[in-house]
Symmetry: C2
Subunit: 249 residues, 2 copies
C-alpha cells in the first residue's frame, strides 16, 4: 500500500534541495523506468500499475527494491507526468565522479546550459552518437531534474558526466577544444578533426569569456537563411553528426 | 488604456477555437514582436511597455495598428510568458495558401507532427537553412499556436506553409520524396540528392502507412550508441544540414 509518508517523500524529490539532501531522484514512464531497471543505478522504490507488473514480471524478478502496486491515479498524483499508466521509480544518485580524457572520442562540455529540456535532449543526442562522456559547468541544469530525465528518454542511464570547473579541466587536458560560435570555421569543411572537447555555450550568452580563451577551433554551422541562431540542443546534434561523419565512422 | 474588453479579447486568442473564429493570433516578446513588425503580417493591436516604446520608436512610426502603452504586469496578465517586459502584438492570420513545387530547394513536409514546440523548432531550422516552403498534414500542430510562435523565434514570419492532404500533393508533384526512417540509407553517404520533399513523421508513430508508399528514398541518420531514436526536430535539423552540405552550398 502506498502510505502517506511515501507520497510525501516522493513529492519532496520534485525539489532540487531535497534531491540533494537525500541524494535520490525519481524516474517516470514506461521506457525510462525500464531503462533504469536495466542500468547500474540502484533503485530503491518502484511503484507500478498492475498492467506494468504483469507485462514486465521477468525484469522485476531481480529487483532488490521495495515494490508497490498502485493505480494510474496514484502514479499521476506523486509524479509530474500528466498521464502515467506504467511506473515511477526512486533511485540513488551517483556521486559526481571525475574522469580522465579518453582521447578516443568526442567529449561534450556544456558551459551553463540552463534549460533542463535542452540538457536532457543533449544527453539523448550524445547517446545516439555513442558519446559517453559529458562535462558540465556548475551552473548547467541539474542532471537529476525530472525534466532532464524525461527529455533524455532513458539515455541518462548510459552517459558518464562530471560537474566541475571547466577552466581547470581544460587546463589539464591536452586536446583540441572545439567551440561552437556564430563566426567560426564551417563545420562542413573541417579536415579530419582529432577527438577532443565539443564546447557548447549558454542559451542566451554563448560561451563565456572565461572559457573562450581555451577554444582551439572555433566552429560554425553554416546558415543559408535568416534565422539568427539555432537552439543549443539542435546545434549540438548537427555538430556531433558532422564530427562522426568526418571521423569516417 | 487597456480596456477589460481588450484583455478579454486577447485571452480568447489563447484558444485555437477563437483564433480560427477571429482569424487572428498573438505574438509575445521583444524579438518575435520586432520580427513581426518587420514582416508582411498585418498587425492590428500592439501592447508595449514604455521601455520598448522608447527603444523602438523608429519602427513604431510606420505602425498602422492600435498602439497601447502598458505595464509589464499587464503584458504578463494577457499573454502566456511568465516574464515579458517588452511587447505583445495581435496580427491577422494569413490564408492557407497552396504553392507549386519550386523544384529548386528542399520542401519540408510534416506528417502529423503534434508537439507545438517541435513544429516551432522545425520552422526555425527551416529558416536557418533557407528552406522557404513547408507542407503540413492537417493533424500537424497549428502554426499559430503561441508555443509554435515562441519556439520559432521570429522565423514564423519568413516561411510559406500549406496545410492539406499530403497524399494529394505527393501525387501531383514530380520530385524525390525523402522519408526519414530508422532503417534507410545512411544520409552521410547519399549521392548528390536532387531537390525534393523531406518527409518527417509523427513523434510516436513515424511516417504513416498512407504516405509511406510515396517515399522514393528512405534515409536514416547513422547512430553509434544506444539511443533508440532522435526527437523529430533534432532529426530534421541533421537531415537539412546534410542536404545542404551534399548540395554543395
Amino acid at each position: 500500500m502506498l502510505s502517506k509518508n511515501t507520497v510525501k517523500f516522493i513529492k519532496t524529490l520534485h525539489q532540487k534541495k531535497y534531491r540533494n539532501l537525500e541524494q535520490k531522484f525519481f524516474v517516470e514512464g514506461e521506457k525510462s523506468v525500464l531503462e533504469l531497471l536495466n542500468s547500474d543505478f540502484e533503485v530503491e522504490l518502484l511503484l507500478v500499475t498492475e498492467r506494468f507488473f504483469e507485462q514486465h514480471q521477468k525484469q522485476l524478478n531481480h529487483l532488490r527494491a521495495e515494490l508497490l502496486i498502485v493505480t494510474q491515479k496514484q502514479l499521476e498524483s506523486v509524479g509530474q507526468f500528466q498521464s502515467n499508466d506504467s511506473a515511477l521509480a526512486v533511485a540513488k544518485m551517483k556521486s559526481n565522479q571525475y574522469f580522465e580524457n579518453t582521447q578516443e572520442d568526442l567529449v561534450i562540455a556544456l558551459d551553463d546550459v540552463r534549460d533542463p529540456g535542452n540538457l536532457g535532449t543533449i544527453i539523448r543526442i550524445a547517446d545516439w552518437y555513442g558519446i559517453k562522456h559529458l562535462l558540465f559547468s556548475s551552473q548547467t541544469a541539474e542532471f537529476y531534474n525530472p525534466k532532464v530525465i524525461q527529455a533524455s528518454m532513458g539515455s541518462f542511464t548510459r552517459v558518464k558526466f562530471y560537474y566541475g570547473d571547466l577552466k581547470e579541466i581544460f587546463k589539464k587536458w591536452d586536446c583540441p577544444i572545439y567551440g561552437a560560435y556564430l563566426g567560426g570555421s564551417n563545420i562542413h569543411q573541417l579536415n579530419k578533426p582529432k577527438p577532443g572537447i565539443l564546447l557548447m555555450g549558454n542559451e542566451s550568452n554563448g560561451i563565456s569569456e572565461e572559457l573562450a580563451g581555451f577554444v582551439t577551433n572555433k566552429i560554425t554551422i553554416p546558415g543559408f537563411g535568416s534565422a539568427e541562431s539555432l537552439n543549443v540542443a539542435i546545434a549540438t546534434a548537427i555538430l556531433c553528426d558532422n564530427f562522426k561523419r568526418l571521423a569516417g565512422e
